[in-house]
């Protein structure tokens, strides 16, 4: 492919205390657009996603073989710094997890850690992130409100804004809308689509419609193996693999 590659995975296998969760996955994730991971529950989508910013490191007994290259650099080499990596590759979790503090403090959390911004700059950064997460108009008058007072969908967008505030190059979504109502889901999907224009976005979903709506490329996993990976339209309309076909046509999963 001529496109710029953000993540290059080479024979990545993941283990949890000796149990293999992923089996020699090799794939390239381009720098622009949205890439979706689909597959039945427990097939290793989250594991792979979390390997992209080393969030699995904190899991006791986790091990990874193979190579994960970010812009050509092996992020699992002994010289790589997982903390710096996570600053470049943000993550939004399945269940919204705002800090028990104000909206402003939630969004300002990352910049306060990494940068020395003046209060004005910080306020600007927070606004920018909230605008990018399409939340600004709803909360601009009550930035000091406790984050827990927001609705579920708003909380999830707050988490997106919080991730955006550190200006990542890539953003990983792990079933970001699975706990949301349809209206909030639609707004989050819009946002994912929008963010895909400027960032590398990887989204795990088991909602196939969602994948077709937001993803440029889709990867289908089954039992820890990458079964098929290609442009979303092709994967859903003319799957090369029979298992993929069975899955996307709703015959199992």
């Amino acid at each position: 492919m001529s496109e710029e590659v953000r993540f290059r995975l080479q024979q990545v296998s993941c283990f949890y205390g000796g149990t293999r969760a992923l089996h020699e996955v090799t794939m390239d994730i381009p720098a622009r657009g949205v890439t979706a991971f689909i597959g039945p529950s427990g097939c290793g989508k989250s594991t792979l996603l979390r390997s992209l910013n080393r969030m699995n490191d904190v899991v006791p007994g986790f091990a990874l073989t193979g190579r994960v290259l970010l812009d050509g650099q092996d992020i699992y080499s002994s010289r790589a710094d997982p903390v710096a990596l996570r600053r470049r590759v943000g993550m939004v979790f399945q269940r919204s997890n705002p800090f028990p503090s104000s909206i402003f403090d939630n969004v300002a959390y990352g910049p306060r850690l990494h940068e020395r911004l003046s209060p004005a700059q910080l306020a600007l950064r927070v606004e920018e992130a909230l605008r990018a997460a399409a939340l600004w108009d709803e909360v601009k008058d009550r930035l000091n409100l406790q984050a827990s007072m927001l609705s579920g969908g708003q909380q999830q967008r707050l988490c997106i804004a919080r991730a955006l505030a550190v200006r990542p190059e890539a953003l990983l979504f792990d079933e970001p809308a699975s706990a949301l109502d349809p209206l909030s889901t639609a707004r989050v999907e819009e946002l994912v689509l929008e963010l895909g224009r400027s960032l590398t976005v990887v989204i795990v979903t088991h909602n196939l419609q969602q994948a077709t709506r937001v993803a440029d490329r889709t990867a289908f996993f089954l039992l820890g193996r990458l079964v098929e990976y290609g442009p979303t339209v092709e994967l859903f309309t003319t799957p090369k693999d029979s298992q993929t076909e069975a899955y996307v046509s709703g015959r199992f999963g």
């Binding site: 910013n53 969030m55 904190v58 006791p60 007994g61 002994s78 010289r79 710094d81 903390v83 710096a84 996570r86 600053r87 943000g90 993550m91 979790f93 269940r95 919204s96 997890n97 705002p98 800090f99 028990p100 503090s101 959390y109 990352g110 850690l113 990494h114 406790q146 984050a147 827990s148 988490c159 919080r162 991730a163 550190v166």
Partner: protein, 715 residues
């Protein structure tokens, strides 16, 4: 099937109801028990502050009185009549008369000793007679009968112009302080011989008193007070040892029980307490210890034979005063204006007065606990023999005349000091340990560390106290430098960690998890070894061989073997499991999703702990420390064994202390039920309860505020 489920449901509901009732009942029982406990403490301790009472008990008329005394059972008042006999006036007015053998009427002066057991009289021909006077109890069936026993000791010519100032006696000898026109003398009468020694008084003696042994004498002239002391045991001479001018005209004097304090009464109603103290250079000086307010010429002062109270007889009133608490306890109600003699009953349960016409008035007294007042319990008090007001706890002493010193402040200070040192030692360790184990430790370590620390709580505190007192305390004393090193270990590791955090991230990553732990432990072992090897040399080189000696010589710091450091360590041993366990639970309750969010934003584990975990767990961390404090305040056995139990006000880490809990444990079993000490100890228990209760309340309130501040945590 359906019926089965229905029956099951019904049974489950019944069990639910039953359990709810049980739990509610149990909770209520606990509340009621606590309430009853507090009620008991209040009921038993509040009487300590009850005000004294006197009630008048009727009047019995009789002849002209010169002096009077009462027996222990308050059955008869013995009045010395001018016609030369003793009148024993019973409560029913029945009078028994016993003639004073060899006394020529009319008797001019008569005087009883403070304990009422010796009587001196100057008769019509100017002879001085001394008697011992006792009333023995015999039982006639069920009836108690007092059998009088008057014995003449000796008589001698007194001469003209002399007046009796004081008499003390012992066995079959009496010493009489006699005032003359140009001074005073002590007449020693015994069955074998009679002698008199003159005192070098600077003028006519107006008032005077002798200590029980007669070895010391106080003599007041119109404008000064002198103190005489027998310095040479070979010679029975009392030598003038100290003197002081007086600002008022004295009329009477008496030495209080304990032979330390002299109470002087004055022409215009002054009542002052004086004592002899060692002077700055050498010798002695007289020092005013107390001043009481009141008006009306003081006729006589009679000390109580029980404690530090005394009766002040004025021309129109009689009051009972108390030295330690510097209070007027009460004025005798209905005191007759023409009273000649007024005295306290030997057991301090009554008082009587005899009027010029010979009417005997009696009062029964309930002084309760005069030595305990809010002021003596909580403010500095100038006790006998002290230069200044002090807060002292010394509840019992060797002699009957001992002045109980019941200031609760040293106990409160000791309690807080012990708790403070314990927390100083244990709170940082336990909190940091909990954070490390919860957030940073390699997997598996937590599974080992937590149960081990919880096991610490299972060590009986008596064992901890025992080891601290008999093993740790001498060891620390012997190896003070190493001990200091041990205390510095944790701060040093923290300092190294701070420096290390500035090192490049790449180096830091090399040293994570178990490797980090091994390096830190290795560092500690190396540092400890170096310290052990170096210690003797350091001793020699810098501290002249002995650090404790050096501390005293150079810094004036006294070192007790059982001191706050040792106690802090031992108490810390009891407190650490509490703080650690609760703190670790609080940290565990922080949702991992919050930590994940923080890490995903590029925070280091330490940053995540600092900015997310600690704030979210802060109510629990605070509660952990407060519960640790509560334990430290209430802990008894460890402080009992490891503090040395000296009630000091010092906050020095090198001195011991005495805590409230330890005091209660040690002294309550010995305290007579219902006595002052008993009540004060119960009051201490009540205070202790209030302390721990307040600590828990504060902990709960602050934890609640923190919880509000950091919001409700996401699940």
């Amino acid at each position: 099937m359906r019926a089965d489920t229905a029956r099951f449901r019904a049974r489950a509901r019944a069990i639910d109801r039953w359990m709810a009732g049980l739990i509610t009942g149990g909770g209520a029982a606990v509340l009621i028990a606590t309430f009853l406990l507090v009620l008991f403490l209040v009921i038993e301790s509040v009487p300590v502050l009850r005000s004294p009472r006197a009630s008048s008990e009727g009047v019995v008329p009789q002849g002209v009185p010169l002096a009077a005394a009462e027996d222990e059972y308050r059955e008869r008042v013995t009045v010395v009549g001018a016609e030369g006999s003793l009148h024993l006036v019973g409560r029913d007015g029945e009078v028994e008369v016993i003639p004073l053998e060899g006394v020529q009427p009319p008797v001019h002066q008569a005087l009883f000793s403070a304990d009422g057991r010796f009587l001196v009289a100057v008769d019509g021909v100017g002879r001085l007679h001394a008697f011992s006077w006792r009333q023995r109890v015999i039982w006639e069936g069920e009836r108690r009968v007092l059998q009088p026993r008057l014995r003449a000791i000796a008589a001698t010519a007194a001469g003209d112009g002399k007046h009796l100032l004081a008499v003390v006696g012992e066995g079959s000898s009496a010493k009489v302080l006699v005032g003359t026109e140009d001074g005073a003398s002590v007449v020693h009468l015994s069955e074998k011989s009679t002698s008199a020694t003159n005192l070098a008084v600077a003028g006519p003696a107006v008032a005077g008193a002798l200590t029980a042994s007669g070895e010391q004498a106080w003599v007041a002239t119109a404008n000064g007070l002198q103190w005489f002391q027998r310095l040479d045991p070979e010679v029975s001479l009392l030598e003038p040892t100290a003197s002081v001018p007086l600002s008022f005209r004295p009329t009477t004097a008496a030495v209080l029980l304990g032979d330390v304090t002299l109470v002087l009464g004055g022409e215009s109603g002054e009542v002052e307490a004086w004592q002899a103290l060692p002077a700055a250079g050498a010798g002695w000086r007289l020092d005013q210890a107390a001043q009481f307010h009141g008006s009306g010429r003081v006729i006589a002062v009679t000390p109580s034979q029980r404690e530090k109270s005394f009766l002040v007889q004025r021309i129109t009133a009689a009051e009972i005063l108390h030295l330690t608490s510097r209070r007027t306890l009460l004025a005798l109600p209905g005191y007759p204006a023409d009273a000649v003699v007024a005295r306290l009953s030997p057991r301090l349960d009554g008082a009587f007065a005899v009027t010029a016409k010979g009417a005997v008035h009696r009062w029964s007294l309930q002084l309760h606990h005069p030595e305990a007042s809010l002021a003596t319990l909580f403010l500095p008090v100038r006790y006998e023999g002290y230069e200044r007001a002090h807060v002292v706890w010394q509840s019992s002493g060797g002699s009957a005349g001992f002045e109980p010193k019941l200031s609760l402040l040293p106990l409160i200070v000791g309690t807080l000091k012990g708790a403070l040192y314990a927390l100083l030692f244990s709170a940082p360790l336990a909190l940091a340990g909990a954070l490390y184990v919860n957030q940073f430790a390699p997997r598996g370590l937590r599974e080992v560390v937590k149960p081990v620390i919880e096991l610490m709580a299972a060590v009986p505190s008596v064992v901890v106290g025992f080891l601290a007192a008999l093993f740790l305390a001498p060891l620390v004393r012997e190896h003070l430098l190493i001990s200091a090193g041990v205390l510095l270990a944790a701060p040093s590791v923290a300092a190294v960690a701070v420096v290390w955090s500035l090192a490049p991230a790449r180096w830091q990553r090399r040293l994570s998890g178990a490797r980090e732990l091994v390096v830190v432990l290795g560092m500690l072992v190396v540092a400890g070894t170096v310290l052990i090897v170096l210690e003797p040399h350091l001793h020699q080189a810098w501290f002249g061989g002995d650090v404790v000696h050096w501390l005293y010589q150079r810094l004036g710091v006294t070192y007790d073997q059982r001191n706050a450091m040792v106690v802090g360590f031992a108490l810390g041993f009891a407190v650490i499991p509490i703080i650690f366990t609760i703190a670790e639970d609080a940290l565990s309750n922080v949702p991992p999703s919050l930590v994940a969010a923080s890490l995903a934003l590029g925070a280091t584990p330490w940053e995540a702990a600092r900015t997310v975990v600690i704030p979210a767990a802060s109510p629990g961390l605070f509660a952990a420390v407060m519960l640790g404090l509560g334990r430290a305040v209430g802990e008894t056995m460890i402080v009992l064994m490891a503090t040395g139990n000296t009630p000091l006000m010092s906050l020095s880490p090198f001195n011991g202390m005495r805590t409230m809990a330890a005091t209660i444990a040690v002294e309550l079993p010995e305290a007579p039920y219902g006595g002052t000490l008993y009540r004060v100890l119960i009051l201490t228990a009540l205070l202790l309860f209030c302390f721990t209760f307040a600590i828990n309340m504060v902990a709960a309130a602050v934890a609640e505020r923190l919880r509000k501040r950091f919001g409700r945590l996401a699940a």
